[in-house]
Symmetry: C2
Amino acid sequence: MATAQVWIDGRWTASTGGDTFTAIDPATGRPLAERFPVSDRAECERALAAADAASARLATVPRDEIARFLDEYAAAIDAHADELAALAARETGLPVSPRLKDVELPRTTGQLRQAAAACRDGSWALPTIDTKAGIRAVHAAIGPVLVIGPNNFPFAFNGIAGGDFAAALAAGNPVIAKGHPSHPATTRRLAELADGVLRTCGLPTGTVQLLYRMSGSDGLALMRDSRLAAVGFTGSKVAGLRIKQACDEAGKPSYLEMSSVNPVIFLPGAIRERAADLAQEFAMSCLMGAGQFCTNPGLVVLPAGADTDAFIADVRARFAAAPSGTLLSPQVRDALLAAVGEVRDAGADLVTGGGAVAGDRVAVENTLLTVTGARFLAEPRRLQTEMFGPVSLFVVAADVDEMLAVVSHLEGNLTGSIYSSRTGDDDAAYRRVEPLLRRRVGRLLNDKMPTGVAVSAAMNHGGPFPATGHPGFTAVGIPAALRRFSMLQCYDAVRPGRLPEVLADANPAGTWRLIDGRWTTDPVAAA
Amino acid sequence: MATAQVWIDGRWTASTGGDTFTAIDPATGRPLAERFPVSDRAECERALAAADAASARLATVPRDEIARFLDEYAAAIDAHADELAALAARETGLPVSPRLKDVELPRTTGQLRQAAAACRDGSWALPTIDTKAGIRAVHAAIGPVLVIGPNNFPFAFNGIAGGDFAAALAAGNPVIAKGHPSHPATTRRLAELADGVLRTCGLPTGTVQLLYRMSGSDGLALMRDSRLAAVGFTGSKVAGLRIKQACDEAGKPSYLEMSSVNPVIFLPGAIRERAADLAQEFAMSCLMGAGQFCTNPGLVVLPAGADTDAFIADVRARFAAAPSGTLLSPQVRDALLAAVGEVRDAGADLVTGGGAVAGDRVAVENTLLTVTGARFLAEPRRLQTEMFGPVSLFVVAADVDEMLAVVSHLEGNLTGSIYSSRTGDDDAAYRRVEPLLRRRVGRLLNDKMPTGVAVSAAMNHGGPFPATGHPGFTAVGIPAALRRFSMLQCYDAVRPGRLPEVLADANPAGTWRLIDGRWTTDPVAAA
């Protein structure tokens, strides 16, 4: 079978890179047939040159054209849902239904449509007008963006269809997509659909391009090139930190979603009041999708006592009884087993699971670990190692004071949940723990598990380092996610006919603008 | 004379650092009498511990208390304007009037009052509410901020009174101020006024603190400490890049205003039409304040021809006739002479000036250099060396095409100006040059010099690297400047009584909030 082609500057062409790779079917552990190319530096360079040319031309394209592409691409994905879900299931081991076809795919096309609406509307860019000073400012396209997708969402975070892709494009930027090597055929099919739509829109050929893989050094060289404006990345902390360093040194923004253990705090009253419900809720959240979510509840803080003992026994039984989900790849399995080993070495005790599932299928047993609060406080770093999979560590603290000490040693996370009594018994404890947790997490939840990231304007799928690289930005949630891929552009005494449409006096699109301190969709009033 | 004291955790105390330094009177080149301390690492640690404690307590202080401090501090500065202007003049060589007393000081107190109003109002934080999903988000305090002021604005950018200080505090953060060593007595007097006001407000003692100086390694250790949340810096590129690296490695935001040559493009019609006016306007902008502005027009691009020859002769005459302003410090003089040498080594020709002014006074001659477009294109990096002072480099391009080539080799800058004919002769050229310049500058101007940074909501005093460290943020302009010193905090299913006031249903402060896609000052409607 021929090696797959890369999509550069509007054409599918044989890669000039000599190396190839195959994905693995995690249901069998065996390589899939098709070979995909590892692009070489010259190929990265061609993609970058095309993106650079597209960037300048995109600035002159009406934003409705970009919005139309996003909408029609969403429609094309919806129209090919069965085929895409089957491809992705084969490459990821995730079930076609409900996960891929009924949940992730509609979410993906929903994101693309929300991004299209935001692009058309323009309010995401916070246009700001000072009529007295004659100064106007707006967030505008930053330039070519490299979007690197993760292994765990073949649609919703795919470099060529996911949230970063939609946000970067809706903000007016060309995207060089790097698919994740664990699902290249799914990624290619998405790119083919994008290609079909792109040909019917008035967008430059280099607006969207696809590379499957490149060497680490070629990838970093691409990121250091001054023509690349920004990077969006979802993946491991190890890779994320390398990307961050390359972008930091080049003085360009990188938006990284790297790692998170998503602490869940069960206050004493909650455990006392509804332990059985909480055990069910926790186990479902932790084992869903074989635990392969950025927001998986990987670290739980509880107060010692008979209620907690019973709670742990209940969770243990649920973990042991539930099937062990297929993992995305052998790499995920190996990294997970290594992380569990690290946490055990740091002093955690195994309650259930802990090993790989026997046989060809790529899977690890549902795994529960416990550690005392005192032990956690002696090794807080190692005991916060992310265990990406159906695994969680319960930190059993002596009392509420020790729970607070544990929370005060947490690193930055995407989410933090606090469960408390419904009758007010935990209110004093809540008031103590909330400020400590609040500054360490991007999203704070009450009586709710962190899995399930609503695509809402008020969502924050972000958080302090090392969950991400900057605590002020979110990867999910439109319009805010678009602003990551922008620069602030101010116009001082610029002649009226030369202003971008979004800052001109007239406002036919009804964009929300901050005019002289007041948000309005009105045009600028005649003086 | 005793060494000055540092202000830590509400008390003025003798520094534990053994080293001291003195400022220099640039009018005489001689050291001033008073000694100021170089803080050691233990002292930095004490300030950080106090700021960390203040950070947690500030979260529970009504934001009106912070606003009251900012307002009353502004009033105290206004009440001591004569004394402050005299102190600053002695340390900086800048004239008391109009510069220090009539321009910079009122600007400074205006910034503090605007920050107070933004703090009270809360709209800066972009509160966003999704009533259907039950999710709410807002930008909130990030934690202790280190603010490092530059040499050239003893009030308006001072670490203890300037724009970064006001923005960080108004966003709810404690500030550790590091004054610039060239004006320590001015900085101390400001801190004393802040202290007097702080004692009357209900703010924690560690809310504002002052250190004068520390070693580079102690400063970087402070920045790497996890308790420090962010850094605001205005100063040299060399120092800025070191700070950036330390913060980047620690995964925390730094907001750096580093260097800019502020290109000014004179299109052919403008020169033909109004060369004499432009020469006057340019010379005034370039020589004002002895050219010591971040937005000084340090690089000018013009078309070759008789009009430009006459224009250059006119500017030369104005430079030669104007007095050479006193520079801020011997360090500024030495760095300027070195930069001029670097630009001459790279091929620029001296038209006028070029040397230090004879005598004790710290000054450099008003200096004009020229280079051909072709030569510039051969050495674009070195010929963009910032020459901080009354100096500019004219790049004389063969034609408009070569002007475009020059612009396409510019690095990131704070500003870019385009002068064009008033009769439309340059419109075609404008349409070609504007897109190239636009993406390289934070603020684009028409027919206007870049000096003079209005404190406007629509201002962008920022720009692509290496002008700053991130192209999405501005150091001047409220409310946007506040958002730099914030993290995004999302509340998912959090019980109503536990929401921060700015996200609760009621909206007594009339804060602008994005509720279900609509900006409004209304409360959340009852379901």
